[in-house]
């Protein structure tokens, strides 16, 4: 059967946003929130790419005068901070926001208003960093701003504060998003989707969320301690006052290393979904991939010291972290073998999303191998702070996370827009980006081995670095051109692409069950799941349940392990309070750069906004 039109009309009425600007500001629709997260992150990726191109221009010839040292410092600091804090982590959360309810056949996230709050606060972090840049208060100490360089003695002014507070913004946003994603996956799975029947994508998003919850408090703590050192003269990181600069590095990397996997683990979810659909067979080794993701999630917390091999820690400590760093290559390798086995034993279809998976596997394996090299403390002492490291982490982060993201973008684009992207231009963009990337970054391995340090604004002639730098610059130009083709393809096809229908790829999971673009209420009924690939049931009708209200916003809550239906939960309606709360928090964060009293005074409007947010709308008490 097909749902009756009166039911669909009723659902649309219940789940619609208010019209116009008010609807834009108050929406709690997970798809709208995710879309603005993704658009913001892509815009920032473009800006960060322009910074990268500018830096490559500077390095293309020795003793170039396009940039001085200060501008170069600002450029790489802004590039790194933007890519790590404002693009990579948020865009992965955004993909979860967009896809998790669809893949669960639910109408919204667990905490819809928390999702809206998360985006507005993230936007606050974006504006903090980039408006400061426009005002020439750009952070200039790299993306990890170590003290004592960032302490009060060596970094006067507010550049370091802007960096530290931008992090507070984005981390609160990320933590709020992670609790939301984890609660949604644990408590809102459709009947029958036991933990054993949960798609890899959802496992990946669950593990990444839990990793965020356990690691991001470290960076919030350490940047708050840095601001305290700068503002109220604490001595956390001043050796003369009984503090310790390495404490900063430990806390920073306790977050920083898991962060790499918080970016990479969702990418493994994208890859698993794409490989399954385009190999046209269920994923080989589902349990192995899930266990690999879980063990990556655990091991990632035992590696942080490999970022600190050069600071003079005890040998035994270095040995432990060398071993742990090499150990994590095992689950990562297992995943790759499972994907290859799926492709090998399936009927692969090399559409654009699948091309990106192939680009990912080849590039990520190179990045993984250079990672095994730098995991060795002895070798790392030679390679650290050289261009070899720049090559390594770009191979891992761009190859390991951005390529799967581009594949995911092409894969789910029809679901979001109802239209197909051009395959032809998609292939051209793929070739330019992957080719340009490898041309741009592979020579950096050699430059590093030849002794070129990272974070230098220029170099003298005669070092033997000119030709390789020029090749690297050429590669970057090609990759950026490919990026522009990719974006142009997405923009043009938004209006002119061929209609996609609800399920153009013959996908295996529930997000393909409903209409495209997905309506505000997602699916007309609650799906019942009895396999890992519920859409691959031989084209039989989907088994669904009725009974979740359509005349008011309501979602189904199920049990954590077996997804047994427990009760029907009211789902929050649109509200201005998340935006007002985020504004109040933003004012407090910014003001606390200048005075500690901002925390006390600023708590009042925050408390008022949160009270408005959570104030239940119920009848007044009858005192008769």
């Amino acid at each position: 059967m097909r749902p009756e039109q009166t039911r669909l009309d009723r659902l649309s009425l219940t789940w619609r946003d208010p019209p116009g600007l008010w609807g834009f500001l108050t929406t709690v629709d997970h798809k709208r929130i995710a879309a603005r997260y993704i658009v913001t992150a892509l815009l920032l990726m473009f800006l960060a790419g322009m910074l990268a191109l500018d830096m490559r221009w500077q390095l293309s010839t020795p003793e170039n005068v396009r940039m001085g040292p200060q501008l170069y410092n600002e450029s790489f600091s802004l590039h790194g901070s933007t890519m790590l804090f404002l693009v990579s982590v948020p865009v992965m959360e955004a993909m979860a926001f967009w896809l998790v309810p669809l893949m669960l056949g639910q109408r919204n996230m667990a905490f819809p208003r928390l999702g809206a709050f998360s985006y507005w606060l993230y936007l606050g972090g974006v504006l903090t960093l980039w408006i400061s840049h426009a005002l020439d208060i750009t952070p200039d100490l790299g993306w990890f701003e170590y003290p004592p360089l960032s302490g009060p003695a060596y970094a006067p002014g507010h550049r370091a504060d802007i960096w530290a507070q931008m992090i507070t913004f984005t981390e609160v946003a990320a933590l709020a998003a992670s609790v939301n994603v984890a609660a949604t996956i644990l408590k809102m799975r459709p009947p029958g989707m036991t933990l054993a029947r949960m798609p890899v994508f959802l496992w990946a998003m669950l593990v990444a969320s839990i990793m965020t919850i356990l690691s991001m408090p470290a960076i919030m703590l350490v940047t708050s301690m840095l601001i305290a050192d700068r503002l109220v003269s604490t001595h956390f990181f001043s050796p003369a006052g009984g503090g310790d600069v390495l404490l900063f590095q430990h806390l920073f990397w306790f977050f920083g290393h898991p962060e790499v996997y918080i970016i990479f683990v969702p990418a493994t979810g994208f890859v698993s979904a794409i490989v399954e659909t385009f190999s046209r067979r269920p994923l080989f080794g589902h349990s192995v991939i899930v266990l690999a993701i879980l063990s990556i999630g655990a091991l990632a917390f035992g590696l942080w010291v490999h970022h600190m091999f050069a600071v003079g820690l005890p040998r035994l400590g270095n040995n432990f972290y060398t071993a742990a760093s090499m150990a994590i290559a095992l689950p990562a390798g297992l995943q790759i073998f499972c994907w290859i086995a799926t492709i090998w034993s399936g009927r692969p279809w090399l559409a654009t999303p699948m091309l990106w998976v192939i680009g990912f596997v080849t590039t990520f394996v190179i990045g993984g191998l250079s990672g095994v090299m730098t995991a060795s403390a002895a070798l790392d002492l030679q390679l650290t702070d050289s261009y070899f490291i720049v090559a390594h982490f770009h191979y891992v982060l761009v190859g390991g996370a951005m390529f799967p993201l581009f594949g995911a973008f092409c894969y789910w684009y029809p679901k979001a827009t109802g239209r197909m992207m051009s395959e032809r231009w998609g292939r051209i963009a793929f070739a330019l980006i992957v080719g340009g990337f490898n041309l741009g970054f592979f020579p950096m391995h050699l430059l590093g081995l030849l002794g070129m340090p990272r974070r230098v604004y220029t170099y003298p002639a005669g070092m033997g670095w000119e030709r390789l730098n020029q090749v690297a610059t050429l590669g970057s130009v090609i990759a950026v051109a490919g990026g522009l083709v990719f974006v142009a393809n997405a923009l043009v096809c938004y209006w002119r692409g061929a209609p996609s229908g609800p399920d153009p790829w013959g996908g295996s999971t529930l997000e393909w069950a409903g209409e495209a673009p997905a309506p505000s209420w997602n699916l007309a009924y609650t799906p019942m799941v009895d396999s890992l690939t519920p859409m691959w049931n031989g084209a039989a009708p989907l088994r669904v349940a009725d009974g979740v209200a359509i005349e008011r916003r309501e979602v189904l809550i199920t049990s954590v392990t077996d997804a047994d239906p427990l009760y029907r939960q009211k789902s929050a309606s649109p509200s201005i309070w998340p935006l007002l709360s985020a504004l109040a928090v933003s004012v407090m964060f910014i003001a606390s750069i200048f005075t500690p009293w901002a925390i006390v005074v600023g708590a009042v409007p925050i408390g008022a906004a949160l009270t408005g947010w959570f104030w239940p709308q119920r009848p007044r008490r009858n005192r008769g």
């Binding site: 933590l175 939301n180 609660a183 408090p217 001595h235 229908g501 009924y525 088994r543 669904v544």
Partner: protein
Amino acid sequence: MTTSPPRPFEVVADLSSLPSGAIGARHLVWWGNIGFMVIEGTGFALAAAAYLYLMTQSAVWPPAGDALPGLLWSGIFTAALVLSTVPNLWVLCCARAKKAAAVRWGMAGLVLIGLVLMALRGAEFAHLGVRWDRDGYGSVLWLLLVLHTTHIVTEWAECAVQAVWLFTHEIGDDQFSDVEDNANYWSFVVLTWLPLYALIYWAPRAL
């Protein structure tokens, strides 16, 4: 590639007989609450790790010239906080039993207890024996205490807002759940204090 309409459905079950609320770990918000407790608990654990790290970097602890933190007011505060568990758990039981009047007055009582706790915490700060800007020891001591105090203050504010709402409105199932979540959070604030208390007041004396 296909542009056929969405897959047809076959309705095989009806969920309309399910209840519209739940208590304890069956409830969705209980899990959100746990998520934020894990975040904040991790923050406490890392701050405690920072304390221990700085301790290992110093030849004597507290550093020479710093007084040991006072035991009197901190002891009174800790005893009062632990005792507050009794009325808190009583409110929790009343919320589970959906006793409206008891929940209202119990919450008002918790607001008053919160005021007493904040006053005791003020006295505790006054007897720490070291300022935050004296040295690394002072800084990390204040870090731990300020972190925990923000939890006392926010928990008190949450109780106050809930009390006002409860006295002025008809209480539904979701609000009883809110009271339950608030009571769990109070227990969290009590439980996190115990290791911090041991660290701040007894580690410098014992080690």
